[in-house]
Symmetry: C2
Subunit: 607 residues, 2 copies
């Protein structure tokens, strides 16, 4: 029996992998009406992507999800490198920190299988009353061409036809959904991307890799480190995982990989124990026994491609693997995907709530497509180095350990996600960069421990920047224990209050902005309630830049940020945790100009 | 209708406050058959004890309960002191760290109301399938006088008659419980203590204090610090609490407190707003408004008493307020109570499992009664200082701030719980103290961050000392990257294996002992699997004494502990986290002698 249902929703997400779930969870938390569908009957059970980079851990923390991630996942702190030894085997060449980005709040990578990561989102979404409709297939998608509809964010210009599948695999009811926005998070073979006729730019490389997941029995001493092995019997990379498992990536030649005449890998001709045999050769003289079972395995040819567009009229978006594919070894895939959604979600929320106009949505492609291009550029260089033969006496053109290590460390800011910097745009203004020299506009807000002024409890500033779709105004007040400074601060606060009230057009300021005051006073002298009340909605929102009672945590925040202790500054942190702009404390014109560029009230709706 | 039931249990606990619940949770986790009853129909809803000291947080951590405590509770990092100002009001004299014990892992106190703390235990116990039977009253308790029964830990020499109460308050069925052991955790007016005819030694002081709990509206700048106010209009103490509440202790004179002719306080004549009026006077010139409601309030006269005995024949024990009462201001009560149970529980578990003989139970009174006596000595001095008039020009005999601060800091090791040191006994042998000069035998194991050798992940050593009723053998191996040292270590390990196998009389060693190896090798050179397999039941049990990849955490553990990097040592940590003995690495005779003193196999059952 086929029935038709018809419904409407603010945002329809197609695909419930990590990218789709990140978007769904973020939107649901912001109170946006959202629905998510997936054609798989259940979440991923094992294998697939599983590396979480330091920046992504910070992002999870901003959604209140890091605790579970850290509890369940394995941590990689150290990277080890093995190279050919004189006696024909391999030997340890070097151990270095896995994460080289010095400002990372979490100086390690987490590994946890994709299904466990999906569960973290699913449980969080359940708290907002949202679940995944599955198995459901999208059949058709139509975007209205009516400009007046497209320009008004409160209309439903996208019509999507959905096909429900029954448990027995038979075709169930069909459904029509009218959506204000659609997010295609449906993977490398994205149906949404094909429907929108968006091309993928890039190429396939010659590198073929196998992957096996299992619990190892080995005498290899670096099996719990991220270990790159270059041997004369092939290369492989060990990624330790949760529950004492490891993942091993193995470079394959065409013969071992059974590459067909048309350049595809014939997976039917391979078995995981054949992949493990390559590992056993590369690891010699160490043993690694063939396990009774493999948890997961696959094989692939690296392709590096980026979608030519990331949206259709800022009404239908693609995120994650739907917009970029690359090699998995540097562990970027799931991170890039989830961070696409993290970038997009707050922008959709602001437009849907009428806080910002449609132009804000253009910044999604602007910021994330550039990132995706940088990612495949990096990946191309890294894959080449990794797949190259080791340099030995005989092969002078091989890759030396020094080359490889240099690349590993040079790319550290990129692979950790910490170094990502969004270029200037309507939401990223570097005009007053000099007021906070080290808080780079377009980069994520630097972690730093301050103390709560009222009780000297240490608090990481990132904990005050939750992903709740609000802009954070960090008001660096200078020394509030100084009477003259306090008097100036009262004036600034008053001006800021007027500006914010104007920008929010009568809405409660607190629904769009959160204000935190950071004084350079000491814990011995500060009186938190001296500060103008507008700067602290709660006593815990007044911080001081001082070390904790034992001198272990905090202090030097103004210095680390490059902010003058007398002059102060207002730092605007975007809802996704990136520095949006910096403004002089005693003059709010540029602050108003920044927000006027995209805030609903004073900006014209543009397309 | 009255029916009789009859049952038997290993341990019956009477009283489900913090002391009883701590004992019950610990025993249930150890797999001991345990039952707990309480005469109250429900757990405490508000008020009562609520301060958790640094050492108690460590103890909670050892049971896996600290996370929730820290999430729900308020933290006190700073103590502030106010004294009379020249203009007749008060002024800030000083702010100092609330916790002065430098080795505290958690350098703060947590405040959380007693009901929330009870919930933490109740939820944990639920995981072991144990709940509180309530409301149930004990009616009679009979201890057998048959020596052969009393000497055999597997008999049930205690007969307790219980009276169930119905929801409507009427009398329900009666029940007979035959118990191997009974724990009386039934408070200051303990029924168990009275039945056993144990006297309380000590006296009542003249100090009368009121307590109010509420959410303050005030301009007083130190309302979120632990603040002692000595004014010429009376003294009070502010304890900030969870959910923006505070508790205030107020010193009262006889008139305000309505002391009756026979020296008792007439609570009917008092109301909380009368107590708050005293606070308002003491806080002048700051305001603190009378709230619409008080969450809780009480009034008491300080009494300092210790029970003359803590058990009857090591078959019936008393713990907590049943054995000691004192003033609440230094926040010791609940901590002392829970730590009584923490001390007793593992000993009961060892005896019940046949691992140790009955003599082990004598150490409970030996260790905890001495502590209780020290506690009331401290309390007597502290209460006197606190209740004294402030020293001014007119009152030369008053208490100066310097006196008070000195006492506050001198007693810091005691009030934090960190400095508690159990005297030498069968389970506390300081013979080889010189091998680890700073790991004081009888004190709790010092926190220290080491790295997991296999993956350089930092780990706090206390995390490897869970309260699981097992002794922990920390084998400080010296430098395992050194071939000669490794060879010596193989011999030691082999000797240790034989000794443990002998001591455990064929049981699995792992059920009584956990072994952790700590090498002084570096993260660059260590090979965790070089160590003898007996020293690591899992790769995560090999640690190294080195700093983490960023140099922020760990390193200098051997130095901090005072252990020679060549000589090494074996440190025996008792199941409750206290250092039990230290043994030379290359000679295990004293190790065997220590355990033979109380372990079931080779020791004679004594009474």
């Amino acid at each position: 029996m086929v029935t038709f249902e018809e419904s409407s929703v603010d945002v329809l997400i197609i695909g419930a992998g990590p990218a789709g779930l990140m978007a769904c969870n973020a939107l649901a938390r912001s109170g946006v009406s959202v629905r998510i569908i997936d054609q798989r009957p259940d979440k991923v059970a094992a294998g697939q992507a599983d590396g979480i980079q330091p920046r992504t851990i910070e992002v999870f923390q901003s959604y209140g999800l890091a605790e579970r991630l850290l509890k369940k996942g394995n941590q990689m702190h150290m990277a080890a490198f093995y190279n050919p030894s004189p006696d024909g085997g391999i030997e340890l060449t070097d151990r270095v920190p896995d994460v080289t980005a010095t400002s990372a709040r979490y100086p390690f990578e987490v590994t946890l299988h994709q299904g466990a990561i999906e569960s973290i989102f699913l449980d969080s979404m359940r708290g907002s009353g949202v679940g995944v409709s599955r198995p459901v297939l999208p059949i058709s998608l139509t975007l209205s061409e009516d400009e007046s509809l497209l320009n008004d964010p409160q209309t439903h210009p996208v019509r999507v036809e959905l096909q429900h599948l029954l448990e027995n695999g038979e075709v169930g009811p069909t459904e029509i959904v009218h959506a204000k926005f659609v997010v295609g998070a449906d993977g490398a073979h994205s149906w949404v991307r094909r429907v929108l006729n968006i091309s993928m730019d890039g190429e396939q490389t010659d590198y073929i890799w196998g992957v096996v997941d299992f619990t190892p029995d080995t005498d290899f001493p670096d099996v719990r480190n991220k270990t790159a092995i270059h041997s004369n019997n092939g290369s492989c990379m060990i990624i330790p995982r949760e529950d004492d498992k490891v993942r091993i990536y193995i470079q394959l030649d065409d013969k071992t990989a059974h590459v067909t005449a048309d350049g595809r890998v014939d997976k039917n001709k391979l078995q995981p124990h054949l992949l493990l045999e390559q590992v056993q050769k590369a690891l010699h003289p160490y043993y690694i026994r063939t396990p009774e079972k493999f948890d997961w395995w696959t094989i692939y040819i690296i392709g590096q491609r980026v979608a030519s567009k990331f949206s259709a009229r800022e009404r239908v978006f693609i995120v994650g693997d739907a917009c970029h594919t690359h090699s998995p070894k540097a562990g970027q895939g799931m991170n890039a995907s989830m961070n696409d959604s993290h970038n997009l979600a707050w922008k959709l929320a602001h437009v849907l709530k009428g806080w910002a106009n449609m132009s804000l949505l253009k910044t999604y492609e602007f910021e994330r497509r550039k990132y995706a291009q940088d990612l495949i550029d990096f990946d191309r260089q890294f894959a080449k180095l990794f797949s190259g033969k080791p340099r030995t006496k005989e092969t002078d053109d091989g890759v030396s350990h020094e080359d490889f290590l240099k690349a590993f460390q040079t790319f550290g800011g990129f692979t950790s996600g910490i170094g990502i910097r969004y270029a200037p745009s309507a939401i990223t203004s570097d005009k007053h960069q000099s007021l906070a020299k080290n808080l780079i506009v377009g980069q994520r807000m630097l972690p730093q421990v301050f103390l709560q002024a009222a009780d000297s409890r240490p608090v990481e500033i990132q904990n005050l920047l939750p992903s709740d779709a609000r802009f954070k105004l960090l008001v660096f007040t200078g020394n509030s224990s100084d009477a003259a400074q306090l008097e100036k601060l009262r004036m600034s606060s008053s001006n800021l209050e007027v500006a914010l009230s104007d920008l929010t057009a009568g809405r409660k300021v607190i629904s769009t902005f959160d204000v935190v005051a950071i004084s350079s006073a000491t814990k011995a002298s500060v009186r938190y309630n001296d500060l103008p009340k507008f700067l602290w909605s709660h006593w815990s929102k007044v911080l001081i830049d001082d070390a904790d009672v034992r001198g272990f945590l905090g202090g030097d925040g103004y210095t680390n940020y490059g902010i003058d202790r007398t002059q102060g500054a207002i730092v605007v942190v975007r809802p996704d945790g990136y520095v949006g702009m910096i403004c002089p404390l005693h003059e709010v014109n540029d602050f108003v100009a920044y927000f006027s560029g995209f805030v609903g009230k004073s900006a014209v709706i543009t397309n």
